[in-house]
């Protein structure tokens, strides 16, 4: 065994723990470093089967693997891609990296095993993983083949997969269908250029959740040199909230633009419609002064009368505008009402007791009692009914107005149908606009603007259908208040 002695010296002076094993698994030589690593007395392992150093859970398969090695011995790493470990004399399991080389001594082939203690490296890795798991951003490391070799907790949560459903799988399963096919090409080109960069700069980037929906993301790519080759660390930032916030902000600014537009429209209308009567009054009063100088007292009286009329109309108009402007300022008070009674009262106010050439029909199918803001409700009905009366068609023998109510789970629906002259097609788009009048029967052009704004405030809708010469139907839907479900 002189040859073996030669190896003994070589092994002993090697700077790493080593042992020599025969084909049947018998340990022939160990060095002190190895003995120390496995906590044995010097040379205590010689003559033992090498399986003694293999942890119990993999000991069973070890002889088979060993035999396989001795059939085709070569220089390689043991258990590539798996975590290897050994067991010490005191039963401590330690992570190892094992190198194998074959040595032929005479006729026999032996395996020279280098065991490197990677406890520190594992500890370091563990700490790294802990740190990365603690990171708020999702992180995924991908190897050169595009397989996921690491995924942190944030990434697991972001993509909705279990860790083991992603590890060692192609990273493309996290890429939306549309870009999945080209992704490996990008990945390869990044691997070969390997400069830290953002993925798909300037483009909206999406990742695929396990449940199939896309997640807006921002991804930074960092090349990493590892003992197992070049890899790419992707840091993924979930933009869902940011995108949502942007959407909200956009919505808000659209809303603001709308209100602003409404306001400038209002200012424009006001410049016409509120200023016009004042201008007339100024003109009339000037005339009065001139007429006074000329002694035309009758003319003065007549023009002062005109001034009064214009002022009166103007004051009413301003009240109407203020009523619209005030909408939404006061807290809504809901109370139960008997709709039939409310309609009756409004009808009497509008037509007087003896009015009977317009027929009012009620077809009320909602559940009583109705909970409404009584004042608002009256304003809506008053305007709809007074329009229906004012625009009745002289050419028809019978003037009919019908009020129909119904409800569904969330809304009470009220329609007011008349067989009046209808709204000309060209005027249908301005029905709800402030100060817009259809013809000389119109009031100040404020009524329907008021109704629309009130209905909007209550979260309801108002629409209409109108055919010239046939009539008009207005449909109002108001949300049902809890309490009228009984």
């Amino acid at each position: 065994m002189l040859q073996l002695d030669k190896y003994k010296l070589a092994i002993e002076i090697a700077p790493v723990p080593m042992l020599l094993v025969s084909g049947n698994g018998k340990i022939l030589l160990t060095n002190t470093l190895l003995d120390q690593l496995f906590e044995y007395e010097t040379t205590a392992l010689v003559g033992e089967n090498v399986d003694i150093l293999v942890p119990e859970n993999s000991r069973e398969h070890h002889p088979v693997l060993r035999d396989a090695y001795f059939k085709l011995p070569s220089k390689r790493q043991m258990g590539h891609g798996r975590d290897l470990s050994g067991i010490t004399h005191t039963g401590q399991v330690i992570p190892l990296e094992l190198g194998l080389d074959s040595v032929t001594i005479g006729e026999e082939v032996y395996a020279l095993v280098v065991a490197i203690d990677i406890r520190q490296r594992k500890q370091h890795e563990g700490r790294m993983n802990l740190a990365m798991d603690a990171a708020a951003s999702a992180m995924i490391m991908v190897d050169q083949q595009g397989l996921v070799v690491f995924i942190n907790k944030a990434a697991v949560a972001l993509f909705g997969y279990e860790e083991n459903e992603i590890l060692n799988q192609p990273v493309e399963q996290l890429v939306p269908q549309e870009t999945r096919r080209v992704h490996p090409v990008y990945r390869d080109s990044f691997m070969s250029s390997s400069q830290t960069r953002a993925m798909a700069k300037e483009k909206d980037l999406y990742a695929l959740h396990r449940e199939g929906h896309s997640i807006p993301v921002e991804i930074a790519l960092t090349p990493v040199e590892t003992p197992n080759g070049k890899m790419v660390m992707s840091t993924i930032i979930d933009l869902t909230e940011r995108v949502e916030a942007e959407r909200l902000a956009n919505h808000k600014s659209e809303e603001l633009a709308r209100v602003n537009n409404e306001l400038s429209q209002f200012a424009y209308s006001a410049s016409h419609d509120l200023k016009a009567p004042l201008t007339s009054i100024v003109g009339l009063l000037r005339l009065c002064l001139e007429d006074l100088d000329d002694g035309n007292v009758d003319e003065v009286r007549e023009n002062l009368q005109r001034c009064l009329q214009v002022s009166d109309r103007s004051a009413k108009k301003i009240e109407g505008v203020l009523e619209i402007a005030r909408i939404g300022r006061d807290e809504a008070v809901f109370e139960p009402v008997d709709l039939a009674m409310v309609i009756q009262d409004i009808w009497l106010d509008l037509t007087g007791i003896n009015q009977n050439d317009i027929k009012l029909q009620l077809d009320l199918n909602h559940v009583e009692p109705l909970l409404v803001e009584l004042q608002t409700f009256k304003v809506i009905l008053e305007n709809l009914l007074s329009n229906a009366i004012r625009y009745s068609d002289e050419k028809k023998v019978l003037h009919c107005i019908e009020i129909n109510t119904s409800h569904d789970e969330n809304f009470i629906n009220i329609s007011v149908t008349d067989n009046g002259i209808g709204i000309p097609h060209a005027k249908q788009s301005i029905v709800f606009d402030m100060f817009k009048r259809i013809d000389e029967r119109s009031g100040d052009g404020l009524g329907m603007a008021l109704v629309k704004k009130q209905v909007d405030r209550l979260g309801g809708t108002i629409t209409f259908k109108s055919v010239e010469k046939e009539g008009t139907v207005f449909y109002v839907s108001l949300p049902r208040k809890s309490g009228d479900h009984a």
Binding site: Y268, T279, G283, R286, R306
Partner: protein
């Protein structure tokens, strides 16, 4: 000569004021009153209208904010009909409004037939201005 003049305005009070001031100046014919753009177009561009090329140009004070056709719509329609050879041989249209805002003044400049913008209410000074403006186009 007296200036033939039409007021197109849906407010009776405003027509009355124009009538009083124009009468007072003595430079104008009896005011022709139209209470809507539609009425004006019917009267001056309808079948019954007879143009007389010897007439002085017709001065039109056109209110802007009217029920039905606006003053601008009416002026544009009159311009279109004039191009077809209908209506008075010459028109001098002045927009006549209480709004006195830039938007309207600019729009008035865009219509060829419209030669000016007069703010309501009329007074002696503005009547003189209208007369001078009219004569500058003769």
């Amino acid at each position: 000569m007296k200036i033939p003049v039409v007021i197109v305005d849906d407010q009776e009070v405003d027509r009355y004021l124009v009538k009083r001031y124009l009468d007072k100046s003595g430079d104008f014919d009896a005011l022709i009153e139209m209470n809507s753009g539609e009425m004006f177009l019917e009267e001056f561009y309808g079948d019954r209208f007879q143009a007389n090329s010897k007439d002085f140009p017709l001065l039109v004070l056109m209110d802007i904010n009217m029920l039905g056709l606006s003053g601008f719509d009416t002026a544009e329609e009159a311009q279109r009909l004039t191009a077809e050879g209908k209506g008075p041989s010459r028109l001098i249209v002045l927009m006549f409004s209480s709004a006195n805002n830039e938007r309207e003044k600019n729009k008035a400049k865009e219509i060829d037939m419209v030669k000016g913008y007069i703010s309501k209410p009329l007074d002696t000074e503005r009547v003189a201005y209208i007369r001078d403006l009219y004569q500058s186009f003769l």
